[in-house]
Symmetry: C2
Subunit: 243 residues, 2 copies
Amino acid sequence: MNEIKGINLAKHNETYQDGTPILVAVDNVIFGFDPVEEKLKVLLFKRQVEPQAGNWSLIGSFVQSDESAELASQRILTKFTGLTDVFLEHFNTYSDIDRDPGARVISLGYYSLIRIDEQKEELVQSFHAQWFHIDEIPDLVIDHNQMILDALHTLQNESRRKPIGFNLLPEKFTIPKLLKLYQEILQAPLDDRNFRKKILSAGYLDRLDSKDKSTSKKGAYHYQFNIEAYFDLVKKGYSLVLP
Amino acid sequence: MNEIKGINLAKHNETYQDGTPILVAVDNVIFGFDPVEEKLKVLLFKRQVEPQAGNWSLIGSFVQSDESAELASQRILTKFTGLTDVFLEHFNTYSDIDRDPGARVISLGYYSLIRIDEQKEELVQSFHAQWFHIDEIPDLVIDHNQMILDALHTLQNESRRKPIGFNLLPEKFTIPKLLKLYQEILQAPLDDRNFRKKILSAGYLDRLDSKDKSTSKKGAYHYQFNIEAYFDLVKKGYSLVLP
DNA sequence: CCAAAAGTGTTTGTTATACACCCATGT
DNA sequence: ACATGGGTGTATAACAAACACTTTTGG
């Protein structure tokens, strides 16, 4: 760096010509909650191009010149699951110069929360994509294992403060399912009585008259997330806090 | 999108040739705490290239092929302030296709926390850079006003859970200064007795024997942040929580 | 001696935690 | 009638919030 001898000498007049175009990709950590196994899973597929073709990988794509990164991430999510209007957020950027052995690629990490029951199963299968439990992620391509860790931490932090977990459940769900989901996300047991108390006392869950009898003889009441009620509460300063 | 007629038809075999290189920039929201005015400020400079030359702007640069985005952000911070080893974190990515009228540029937002008293004032001046109070940010180039808002929200959220505020203060500081800093960051008054109780009971602030008599006749004790003590506490599960 | 900022404790209310039993029902 | 998961309440502890006075000392 140049020494500055006096005042008014320095310039910072980089132009667009001074920039070097770089390949930019999005990688999508797609989370789903398996309603049968009651496990939090991530959708992976086998990379089809060299280097490292055949290895498990996150689902990603290059950002094209006519689309934003968000759109690229949505595009690839829709391609693999058939879903649109999905919770999808940026969580980190990966820019080490040697991270991708194939080329200099800056990768934007997104994570999405989908309802496994709404995905197009045949689409997922047609790409040879598979759901992996977060405890059983295989060795992935490049830095994708790190990306999943980062996405999971973001999901955990966000889940403790905002009710985003509902994006992983069907419209109608039961409290026992919701509890299991939160235990999976936070990877820690939660006291069921205290959990019920906190989540129900907030007032944004509507109990329906119907019950889910698939897991017990007594049956568990269906609940629905009431987003208007939630927004009203947020306006008044409410925020969820889980341990 | 193609309809899938059967299983095993779909491909996702994008190669590096399918990517379009894009200009990638970093923009740095440089925060400083003015020790005299006791105000949280952001460092801005007048853009020197078209379009919008002469307008106030964040300090940014293109990411070059031989550097990571973090490094680019550090580089530009050092160029303007002379500082190295500074708190610097990515907070968001801006990728709308029309955001920059000069070219398609994806911008990575970083924010940094510096000690104003350690910066090289003559360097800052030589770039015609100026510190602006966060309540008095002028109209900025492109989407830089939004970036400052996003960075401030990130800073607020992080400050509530981690003691990163110390990066904005000199090594030795007083509790009244620390309180003022937190009130500036959170843009809300804090009760001084409760604040003292919480911050001192944690045990990672070492009181020195010296006093700062610049703001009162009685003088306020100097304190120092003890990072080892803090890390030990974090290992045991401690986390700061401010209202 | 007094103005101005620094420093200190207590009470009260709220929230978190820990914990155990009854309920409903299909088989 | 009983096994299975669903649903409920209470007592205690910990923490947050509200609040006012004393201390120090340079001028």
